[in-house]
């Protein structure tokens, strides 16, 4: 007798569901592991939904610029990429950053530099947050589970369209490919997209090229002022068993998931340790970070890159007097036990 089989979803499949839920109407992409199934899944959805557009472009740069063109025409468009494709995506991301275009990129990190591995890493944090020839006015979310991939995809769209900063969701190869049971969480209401070239009486001129330092400086100052005003509204984090802790682990993405388990194990060993998990890596929820770290003995920053998260955290920490220990394994994953061993050996 056949049993009731429940469908299992991969992270990439969940992202497609979430993008549609967020009101996305167009996707432009160039295949790259481990994000290709987002493009494939989107195209499959488009075959039964005429409102969904897509184009497999000649490269990632074109995917990004076609996304921009589509957004200028009023569509809620996005792209998905990884690794070397994310490098090429910096060109359109820089234009979106300057012109305040609500650009969404889903980035499933893989090991670098170069072609690296196609599996897993957390080495694209710097690129996502500070890549491009600007000052990093991009919102970067990091997902640590399939459920979060869903809710944060929707959030990434809403943030981009609400605040008009390019917004990136970081996942990784494991999250992209792993399959689990999944039922969509209650959705957040999508934000409407409007045309940026309306052809009204006064023409719209969008330019990214300025001839005087002062003129361009004034433009940048406006954007930076917006960023500074909005950053506390955008920044998000999660804390776990932090109240009585004398030490904290700081980790994001899948490493945060393993760290949560590590906290559990160490708590059973009577170690008073907690977790701070940034959900936005740019901007960081520095208010919560400084509140929870105040008076703590030690901070362990655990990540699958060479201290990329650590650099961000150290810059944001205000008057922290304890010790900071960096535990990094570039492009390799952590198990909870490994994190426990490293901390207990310290």
């Amino acid at each position: 007798m056949q049993k009731n089989v429940q469908k299992l979803y991969s992270g990439n499949e969940v992202i497609v569901l979430a993008a549609i839920e967020a009101g996305a109407e167009a996707m432009f992409g160039y295949p790259i592991t481990p994000s290709s199934e987002i493009l494939q899944g989107w195209i499959e959805s488009a075959s039964s939904n005429r409102n969904l557009q897509f184009l497999q472009t000649e490269d990632e740069t074109s995917a990004g610029f076609a996304t921009i063109g589509s957004i200028l025409g009023g569509k809620k468009a996005f792209t998905a990429t990884a690794g070397p494709g994310h490098v090429l995506m910096q060109d359109p991301l820089s234009m979106a950053e300057n012109l305040r275009i609500p650009f969404v990129a889903i980035v499933m990190q893989r090991g670098g530099p170069s072609t690296g591995t196609v599996n897993y890493s957390q080495q694209e944090v710097n690129l996502a947050a500070f890549g491009g020839n600007g000052d990093g006015l991009r919102v970067v979310y990091s997902a640590s589970s399939i459920d979060e991939l869903y809710s944060l995809t929707i959030k990434t769209f809403n943030t981009a369209w609400r605040y008009k900063f390019p917004s990136i969701l970081l996942g990784d190869g494991y999250l992209a490919k792993m399959k689990t049971k999944f039922s969509p969480s209650k959705s957040i209401r999508p934000i409407k997209s409007t045309e940026m070239l309306e052809g009204k009486k006064n023409p719209t001129y969008l330019r990214n090229c300025f001839s005087s330092e002062e003129e361009f400086g004034a433009e940048l100052d406006k954007n930076i002022a917006d960023w500074n005003r909005l950053r506390s509204q955008i920044a998000e984090s999660e804390v776990y068993k932090i109240n009585d802790a004398s030490e904290i682990i700081i980790a994001h993405g899948l490493v945060a998931q393993a760290s949560k388990e590590a906290v559990e194990i160490m708590r059973n060993n009577r170690r008073k340790i907690g977790l701070f998990k940034p959900i936005t890596l740019n901007p960081i929820d520095s208010r919560t970070l400084n509140k929870v770290s105040s008076g703590k003995k030690k901070i362990y920053i655990v990540e699958s890159s060479r201290n990329q998260l650590s650099h961000i955290i150290k810059y944001e920490l205000d008057k922290f007097c304890g010790e900071i220990v960096e535990i990094s394994k570039p492009a390799q994953g952590f198990t909870a036990k490994e994190i426990v061993n490293k901390i207990e050996k310290d």
Binding site: S62, A66, G69
Partner: protein
């Protein structure tokens, strides 16, 4: 009465910022007349490259977007997909279209994306100080070919002929020269009508002058242009007979 200025020109930005005698200004004027004639001021969306074309960012009374160097075509294609009824024009130099952005131009032609690309061929990278372009002709001296363009850097690139090879038969592909403004107008009109009436790709290269970088006076500029006109073929490049694309 003969109109001296297109109605769709943004008067507030005239005189323009192109160098005196620049070919871009003359070509943009013809484009303006075509937009007037076809009454497209409300319909047209103008996407420009980085290169001297960037100086046209507020040249007209219609929506204009400066993109990045070489990225005009994909931006225009994405916009056209979102707004298929709009008339989408990409405007670029020969560096933007035949070097950094060639891949995108070729693929837009290959897919028959219904956009119009106007490429101004002044045979050099003008905005950055007169370096060699793919279209620089053999033996010509530029700031990166100080002893003349050698064979090892290739001859002058024949863009429209290259594009024709992979474009749909419905696409309009041509080369014209700014020495004949009436012919430029006719070709631009045909390119735009191809987009509107045939829903097909159109590509027009316009041979142009750059007195600043070629260091030519009016007479010298047009002498150079004559040379270019004999090196490059002027006219429409029809689909090959054997092809059925």
């Amino acid at each position: 009465m003969i109109e001296t200025m297109p109605k769709c020109w943004n008067q507030k930005t005239k005189p323009h910022f192109f160098c005196p005698g620049c070919g871009h200004a003359i070509i943009l004027k013809q484009l303006g007349f075509v937009i007037d004639d076809l009454k497209l001021e409300q319909e047209v969306k103008f996407f420009i490259d980085i290169g001297c074309s960037l100086l046209a960012w507020n040249f007209y009374n219609f929506d204009t977007v400066q993109t990045h160097h070489g990225r005009t075509t994909p931006t225009a294609v994405g916009y056209k997909m979102a707004k298929p009824k709009k008339v989408v024009i990409g405007y670029m130099g020969d560096g933007g279209g035949y070097a950094i952005g060639l891949q995108s131009v070729l693929h837009a032609a290959f897919r028959n994306d219904p956009v119009t690309i106007i490429l101004v061929n002044n045979e050099n990278y003008a905005m950055t100080g007169g370096q060699m372009a793919p279209t620089t002709m053999p033996n010509e001296i530029t700031t990166t070919t100080p002893t003349g363009k050698e064979v090892k850097f290739g001859p002058g690139m024949h863009g429209p002929e290259l594009i024709r090879n992979i474009a749909s038969d419905k696409a309009y592909i041509a080369r014209t020269s700014m020495s004949a403004p009436e012919a430029v107008k006719i070709a631009i009109k045909k390119a735009i009508k191809t987009q509107i009436e045939n829903n097909a790709f159109s590509f027009l290269e316009i041979l142009s002058i750059c007195p600043t970088n070629w260091k030519t006076d009016a007479e010298g500029s047009f002498e150079r242009l004559k040379m270019a006109e004999s090196y490059y073929h002027i006219g429409e490049i029809p689909p090959q007979k054997s092809s059925q694309k």
